[in-house]
């Protein structure tokens, strides 16, 4: 699905936190969002996912305007992976139960086999299935959150810091998995991350946010080469490049 966001504004009470954001994502492409902490990145994703009703502007998937209240079928096609995996996994449900929920709601068949497949896709042992979230490590919980989004076979994935709790070896497996799925199933991604290396690996285009505005959009290639305009983009890039140099 293509995604179009036009002049998106979002407020909490009388405080506007997203102040007219616009971007487009082609079908099968990935758009990355980076930027200041508190600038509204998660809020944009939540509104796209239909989890916030206080927005104005335009959010469209495949050219169709999304209504404030989304129909149930929408939640199968568009899935979100939350920034805070612990908070988004029900503490008293086993991983098995958590992963069964969406397939049950949408009347999917072969749930058992689906769970087994999706666990191995995110490199979790089958033994994780009957544990509770608090019995897993931070990175294992994050992988459960990714598995839960994948199991519904969505067409759009909204990923909020999907690999921030993963060690780089598991991160590589997940990023490769996301890249493969995008090719095989023509998925479209919007991903928020603070890690420019991760963003530029998966996304061809990147938007930079400060204080509710998307102040710049660049291609990953231009970000690499340093062809950027805004001071914040340049600063983020410099810090990232400095870290890559040996200590």
């Amino acid at each position: 699905m293509t995604i179009e966001i036009d002049n998106l504004r979002i407020s909490f009470g009388d405080k506007e936190v997203v102040k007219g954001v616009s971007f487009k994502v082609a079908q099968g492409a990935s758009f990355g969002i980076v930027g200041e902490s508190g600038s509204g990145k998660s809020t944009v994703l939540r509104a796209m996912a239909g989890l916030n009703n206080h927005w104005s502007g335009r959010i469209a998937f495949s050219g169709e305007d999304a209504p404030l209240k989304r129909p149930p079928a929408f939640f199968r096609k568009v899935q979100m992976v939350f920034q805070d995996p612990y908070g988004s996994l029900h503490p008293r449900q086993t991983i098995d139960r958590i992963l069964s929920e969406l397939p049950l709601v949408h009347g999917m068949n072969d749930i058992d086999a689906r769970i087994a497949r999706v666990l191995s896709a995110v490199a979790l042992p089958q033994s994780a299935r009957f544990r509770f979230p608090h019995q897993l490590s931070g990175g294992q919980r994050q992988r459960v959150a990714i598995a839960r989004a994948l199991i519904a076979e969505p067409q759009v994935l909204l990923l909020d810091e999907p690999t921030s709790a993963l060690d780089v070896s598991v991160q590589a497996e997940i990023l490769n998995l996301l890249a493969d799925l995008r090719v095989e199933q023509n998925l479209t991604y919007v991903m928020v991350s603070h890690n420019l290396s991760v963003i530029s690996h998966l996304c061809s285009h990147v938007g930079v946010m400060i204080d509710g505005h998307m102040v710049e959009q660049v291609t990953a290639e231009d970000l690499r080469l340093g062809n950027v305009q805004h001071a914040h983009t340049r600063e983020l890039r410099t810090l990232s490049v400095e870290l890559e140099e040996p200590a």
């Binding site: 200041e36 902490s37 690499r224 983020l236 890039r237 990232s240 890559e244």
Partner: protein, 275 residues
């Protein structure tokens, strides 16, 4: 020595039998910055929790020595632990928002952390809390002090936890992925603040992180964990040129901004590493 861990073992009884998670970890920490990196699920967080005696009841734990500033943690009472936790040793948990109280404002929680250890009036504590929030680079700290945890962003929650843990001037700071939700500019500021505390007040830091470049630049030493064990311990500045095949494998998996890779190499795990 601030922290001594010798031959630490942690395991869980499950329906299918006993599952060991930490298998003989030994670490020492003085007034320095020790990084712990390594595989997800390798026991990094459990090791840190053991040190604060924060493991679930049914956990099986054994160690030749587990000590904080000479105090034997294995035999310490809950009362003794309360003297250490949140006062002499701050612990920033991996899931920051989960460890904040959802029904209390951020300001009152930071103020409480400050007041428990420093005393003073409520008003003084709230003022101190706002200064602390400012120190961790929160924009508009007054407004954030009046917000509830669900009203702040991921990175703001992480910084609130950091502010709370720094409030009582701890001698040891255990930080489990403290900056994973922060953009690079804020991360740099927070690390500068922690650095100051380490060098000026002689605090010790145990930093658990997946960010190898960050650990390599920021810490003094680093321990690399895999499958419940420490694979190697080395000078942090030498991390990016480490020789152990597991560490090399990890480094190889990293995406890079300046040297893009078409596809990321994945790690081939070798049973030899566990011999």
């Amino acid at each position: 020595m601030l922290v001594e861990i010798q031959n630490l073992h942690i395991g869980f009884q499950s329906r299918t039998g006993f599952a060991p998670a930490v298998k003989g970890v030994s670490l020492k920490l003085g007034t320095e910055k020790l990084g712990i990196v390594g595989e997800s699920g390798s026991g990094k967080s459990l090791t840190a929790r053991a040190l604060m005696k924060l493991l679930p009841k049914q956990t099986r734990i054994e160690a030749d020595r587990l000590a904080f500033d000479g105090i034997d943690i294995m035999s310490a009472s809950e009362r003794e632990m309360r003297q250490i936790r949140g006062k002499r040793a701050g612990f920033i948990l991996q899931d920051p928002k989960y460890s904040l109280n959802p029904v209390k404002t951020i300001g009152s929680q930071v103020a409480e952390a400050w007041r428990t250890h420093k005393g003073g009036s409520k008003r003084q504590a709230l003022e101190a809390a706002i200064t602390l929030l400012e120190q961790v680079k929160i924009r508009d700290p007054k407004k954030v002090a009046g917000s509830y945890p669900h009203e702040v962003s991921g990175g703001m929650g992480q910084r609130v936890m950091i502010a709370m843990m720094l409030a009582p001037d701890p001698e040891l700071l255990i930080a489990d992925e403290p900056t994973s939700a922060l953009d690079a500019t804020v991360q740099a500021e927070i690390l500068r603040l922690i650095e100051e505390l380490v060098s000026e007040r002689g605090m010790g830091l145990l930093l658990i992180s997946h960010d190898l470049p960050l650990v390599s630049h920021f810490c003094d030493r680093v321990a690399v964990m895999y499958a419940g064990r420490v694979m190697e311990e080395l000078k942090a500045s030498e991390l990016l040129s480490a020789q152990h095949p597991y560490t090399r494998g990890l480094l190889n998996c990293m995406p890079s901004l300046i040297h893009p890779k078409e596809r990321l190499p994945v790690l081939t795990r070798d049973p030899e590493w566990l011999k």
